[in-house]
C-alpha cells in the first residue's frame, strides 16, 4: 500500500514537500516567539528588573517575514545576554550575600525587615572587591557572635557553680576589686578559672574558713559577672555591624543597578520584549488568514467610506501583488454595524441602549433619542424641584470626576456612577421642570404652586395637584404614553423606509393613524364607558378613525404574506398597543409614590404651608436621601423598562453586531 501511495504522488512530490515546509513555518515561528519571550523575561528576572510595558512602541526591524524579524531579535538578545553576564554575576552574588546576612540575622532572632541602619559611604573599591570583603567580614562577625554566645554560656555555668558554693558555705559577701580581663576572654582563661574554681572548692570543703580563698572566689565571681555584663553590649555591637554590612551591600547593588550600561541593557530588553509581543499579536492575526505557500488569503468587512483607503493601503504594502475583490453584502450576510461614537456626555445612554442589543446597519441608532425620552419620563416620575436640583448638582460633580479619574481603576459601582454624569444632569433638569409643573419642592410642601403649561381637551399639562387629582395625573400619563408610542411608530416608519420596505412602512403609518384615531375617539366621547355612543352618534368618525386603518392594515398585510399570518400579526399588535398605552399609567402611579413618600416626611417633620423650620431639615434630609436612593432606583428601573419593553421594540431590533476593526495591540 505504501509503495503504491508514494508512486501515485511521485510526480508532484517535490512541490508537496515544499508546501508542507511552508506550512510548518508558522508553528515553528510561534514556538520561537514564545521561546524568546521566556528568555527575555528570564534575563530580566536575573537582572532583578520588573518586566514592565513601555509606553512608546519601538519600530519593528524592516524585514519581509516575521521569521526573519524574529531571527534578528534573537541575535540581538544573544548579544545582550553576553553583555549582561558580568552584571548578572555581581547582582546575584550581592543578592546572595544579602540573603545570607538576613538568614544570619534571623538565627540571631532579629527581624531583618524591622532593623535598619543606613550606611551612607560607598568604599572606593570595585564592587566585586567590596562584596568579597563584605563576605569575609560577615563570616568574621558570625564567628565572633558564636564566641560571645559560648562565653555567655560558660560564664553562666561558672556563676551557677559559685552560687552553689555560696549556698553550701554561706559565705559573706564583701566588696572585692574586679580583675580586668579582655573581652571576650579566651578559652585559656576559662580553663584556668574552672580549674582554679575546683581547687578552691575542694580546699574550702576541707577548711571552711579560709579568708584568702573566699576572697579569691568572690573576685572570680565579680570578674565573671563583669564579663557577663558585657555580653549584650557586644552582641548589639555585632548586630549593628552586620546591619551596616547589609546596607553596604545594598548600596553596592544599587550602584550596579544605576550603572548606565545596565540601564541601557534593561531598556533594550524591554523594547525587545515589546517587539516580540507585537510579533505575537501579528501572528495571532495571521492565524485567521488562509495560507498556502507564499500566498495569503483573507476576507474582511470594511466600512464603505474607508474602502478606497484600505484597498490603496493593501496595494502599497504588497507592491501591487494582490487581487482584491469588492463585494457588497448579500442578503444572507449578517452585516456588522459601524457604530458612530457619541459624545462622552451621552455615554450612559449608549450603555443603556446597547444593553438591549446593538442596532442593525440599516436602523437608526436610538441613543440620542433615548437621551431625550429617558430624562423626560424620569422627570415625570421624579418631578421635584429640590431633589431634581440635588440630582443636577450630583451630575455636575460626576462629570467633573469623569475627566479626572481613570474609570478602569475604580470599583464597579463607582464606575457606573462616574459614567452616568450626563444622565444625572439631564434627569435632574427634567425633574426640576416637571417639579415646577406639579408644584413639588421636597414633596408637596406648598412652596411652589403648580404651573399650567397647556390644556388640550381633557388633558392638563401641569397646573394641578396630583395628590388630590390623581385622575388628571392618570390622563396626563396616558397622553404621554400615546405621544411616546406614536414617536416609536414614526421611528418605525423611518427605519422601514431606510430598509426599503414600503409595505411595512405603510402598515406602520396606518398604525399611527389607528393609535391616534382610537385615542381621539376615546377622548372625544369621554372614556371607554361611553363606548355605545361610538357606534350610535359617532359612526362616521368610528369608520374613519378605526375601521379604515384596521382594514387597510389587514389588506396590506394580507398582500405581503398569507392572510392568516396577517390577521395574527394585526391582533397581536392591537393587543400590544393597548397594553403598552395602559402601561404608561405607571408614570402616574410612580409619581404618586414619589410625592406620597415625600409627603410622609413632610408630615413627620411638621412642615406646613411651605414653612421649613430648622428642626424639620434633618428629617427632610433623611426623606430626600431615601427618595433619591431607593425611590430613584425604582423610577430608574421603570424608566428603563418603559424603553426596553414599550418604546424601543417598536422600531429597534437590537440584533446587530458591532463592527470591530482588526487591531494589533
Amino acid at each position: 500500500m505504501e509503495v503504491a501511495h508514494s508512486i501515485d504522488v511521485n510526480g508532484e512530490r517535490a512541490s508537496f514537500d515544499g508546501l508542507l515546509e511552508e506550512y510548518a513555518i508558522p508553528c515553528e515561528v510561534a514556538a520561537q516567539c514564545s521561546d524568546i519571550l521566556t528568555r527575555v523575561d528570564c534575563q530580566l528576572g536575573k537582572l532583578e528588573q520588573k518586566p514592565e510595558d513601555l509606553s512608546d512602541k519601538p519600530p519593528l526591524p524592516s524585514k519581509p517575514t516575521l521569521k526573519e524579524i524574529l531571527d534578528e531579535v534573537e541575535k540581538e538578545l544573544a548579544e545582550i545576554e553576553d553583555r549582561s553576564q558580568p552584571f548578572i554575576e555581581t547582582i546575584t552574588s550581592s543578592s546572595n550575600l544579602i540573603r545570607k546576612i538576613e538568614q544570619t540575622l534571623r538565627t540571631w532572632k532579629i527581624n531583618p525587615k524591622k532593623a535598619n541602619i543606613k550606611n551612607a559611604s560607598l568604599p572606593e573599591k570595585s564592587s566585586q572587591e567590596t562584596l568579597l570583603t563584605a563576605e569575609q567580614s560577615l563570616s568574621e562577625l558570625e564567628r565572633r557572635f558564636k564566641e560571645i554566645d559560648k562565653t555567655a554560656t560558660r560564664c553562666s555555668n561558672i556563676l551557677a557553680r559559685i552560687s552553689h558554693f555560696n549556698k553550701s558555705l554561706k559565705l559573706k559577701v564583701t566588696e572585692v576589686p574586679i580583675q580586668k580581663v579582655p573581652f571576650p576572654p579566651g578559652e585559656k582563661f576559662f580553663t584556668f578559672v574552672e580549674a582554679r574554681l575546683s581547687e578552691i572548692g575542694n580546699a574550702l570543703m576541707a577548711n571552711k574558713s579560709n579568708e584568702a580563698l573566699t576572697k579569691e572566689l568572690l573576685t572570680i565571681k565579680a570578674t565573671i559577672s563583669h564579663v557577663m555584663e558585657q555580653v549584650p553590649e557586644a552582641k548589639a555591637d555585632i548586630i549593628k555591624q552586620t546591619l551596616e554590612l547589609r546596607s553596604l551591600v545594598d548600596l553596592v547593588k544599587q550602584s550596579i543597578r544605576a550603572n548606565p550600561e545596565l540601564q541601557a541593557i534593561h531598556f533594550e530588553l524591554l523594547s525587545l520584549r515589546e517587539m516580540v509581543k507585537e510579533i505575537d499579536e501579528l501572528m495571532k492575526v495571521e492565524s485567521n488568514m488562509g495560507r498556502c505557500g507564499t500566498t495569503v488569503f483573507f476576507e474582511v468587512w470594511v466600512p464603505k467610506l474607508q474602502l478606497e483607503k484600505v484597498v490603496e493601503e493593501i496595494k502599497n504594502i504588497t507592491q501591487g501583488k494582490c487581487v482584491i475583490e469588492e463585494a457588497p453584502p448579500t442578503s444572507e450576510d449578517v452585516v456588522p454595524t459601524v457604530i458612530k461614537p457619541v459624545p462622552r456626555f451621552f455615554e450612559a445612554f449608549e450603555k443603556l441602549t446597547f444593553s438591549l442589543g446593538y442596532p442593525r446597519p440599516e436602523e437608526v441608532n436610538p441613543v440620542l433619542l433615548m437621551a431625550i425620552t429617558f430624562p423626560f419620563l424620569f422627570g415625570i416620575m421624579f418631578a421635584d424641584v429640590g431633589q431634581g436640583a440635588i440630582l443636577l448638582a450630583l451630575g455636575f460633580i460626576l462629570l467633573y470626576f469623569r475627566g479626572k479619574v481613570d474609570i478602569n481603576k475604580v470599583g464597579d459601582i463607582m464606575r457606573y456612577f462616574i459614567v452616568s454624569g450626563g444622565l444625572f444632569v439631564l434627569c435632574g433638569t427634567s425633574a426640576i421642570i416637571f417639579g415646577f409643573l406639579f408644584g413639588e419642592f421636597f414633596g408637596p410642601s406648598g412652596v411652589l404652586h403648580p404651573i399650567l403649561l397647556a390644556e388640550i381637551g381633557p388633558f392638563q399639562i401641569g397646573g394641578f395637584d396630583p395628590m388630590h387629582e390623581p385622575l388628571s395625573m392618570l390622563r396626563f400619563a396616558i397622553l404621554v404614553g400615546v405621544i411616546m408610542l406614536s414617536l416609536g411608530l414614526v421611528m418605525r416608519v423611518v427605519n422601514n423606509v431606510k430598509k426599503r420596505r414600503p409595505k411595512s412602512a405603510l402598515i406602520s403609518s396606518f398604525w399611527i393613524w389607528l393609535l391616534l384615531g382610537g385615542f381621539f375617539m376615546w377622548v372625544y366621547w369621554g372614556g371607554i364607558s361611553n363606548i355605545t355612543r361610538w357606534f350610535a352618534e359617532g359612526t362616521f368618525m368610528f369608520l374613519g378613525l378605526i375601521v379604515t386603518p384596521v382594514a387597510l392594515i389587514g389588506i396590506v398585510t394580507a398582500t405581503a404574506g398569507s392572510i392568516m399570518e396577517g390577521i395574527d400579526f394585526s391582533i397581536e399588535v392591537l393587543i400590544e398597543s393597548l397594553d403598552h398605552t395602559i402601561s404608561f399609567s405607571r408614570l402616574a402611579a410612580l409619581f404618586l409614590t414619589h410625592t406620597a413618600l415625600n409627603y410622609m416626611f413632610l408630615i413627620i417633620a411638621g412642615v406646613e404651608n411651605g414653612v421649613f423650620t430648622l428642626q424639620s431639615i434633618p428629617i427632610i434630609m433623611i426623606g430626600s436621601i431615601l427618595a433619591l436612593s431607593i425611590e430613584g432606583l425604582v423610577v430608574f428601573v421603570h424608566c428603563l423598562r418603559l424603553h426596553w419593553v414599550e418604546l424601543l421594540p417598536e422600531f429597534y431590533s437590537g440584533k446587530g453586531i458591532p463592527y470591530e476593526p482588526l487591531k494589533v495591540k
Binding site: 399609567s585 405607571r586 404618586l592 409614590t593 413618600l597 431607593i630 432606583l633 428601573v637 421603570h638 419593553v645
Partner: protein
C-alpha cells in the same frame, strides 16, 4: 366597627401583604442572581431589575397604607372605611399576584440570560408584565381611597 378602625385594617393589610410579596419575590430572585453573577458578573446590572421590581411592591404597599392613614380624619362614614379596607386588599392582593409572577419569571430570566444573553429582551416580558399587575392594583387602590 368604627370607620377609622376599618381604614387602619386596610392600611395594615396593604403594607403587610405587599411586604410579604416583596420578600417572596426577592427571596427567589436574589439567590438566582447570586449564582448568575458568580459565573458572569457583567450580567449583574442587567438582571438586578428583577430584584428592584420585587422591592417596588413594598413601596406601593407603603404608599397605599400611608395614603389611608393620612386620610384618617376624613374617614367618618362606614362607606369610606369600607373603601379604605378595599383599597388595602386590592393593593395587597395585586402585589401578591405580581410577586408570584416575578418569583417565577425572574430566576427563569436569569438562567436563560446566562446561556443566551440575546434572549433577554423577550424573556424580560414575563417579568415586567407580572409587575404591571401591581401597578394596576396600585392605581385602583389609589382611586378607591381618594
Amino acid at each position: 366597627m368604627a370607620p377609622t378602625v376599618m381604614a387602619s385594617i386596610g392600611a395594615a393589610v396593604s403594607i403587610i401583604t405587599s411586604a410579604i410579596s416583596a420578600s417572596y419575590a426577592i427571596l427567589s430572585c436574589a439567590p438566582a442572581l447570586a449564582s448568575v453573577t458568580s459565573e458572569k458578573p457583567e450580567l449583574g446590572s442587567k438582571l438586578l431589575i428583577a430584584i428592584i421590581l420585587g422591592e417596588a411592591l413594598a413601596i406601593y404597599g407603603l404608599l397605599i397604607a400611608f395614603m389611608i392613614i393620612s386620610n384618617l380624619p376624613a374617614i367618618t362614614t362606614e362607606e369610606a372605611g369600607l373603601r379604605a379596607i378595599l383599597a388595602g386588599i386590592t393593593m395587597g392582593g395585586t402585589a401578591a399576584t405580581a410577586s408570584v409572577g416575578i418569583s417565577y419569571c425572574g430566576p427563569a430570566l436569569m438562567t436563560a440570560t446566562v446561556e443566551k444573553p440575546e434572549s433577554y429582551t423577550v424573556n424580560i416580558l414575563g417579568l415586567v408584565l407580572s409587575e404591571a399587575l401591581a401597578i394596576y392594583g396600585l392605581l385602583i387602590a389609589f382611586m378607591l381611597n381618594v
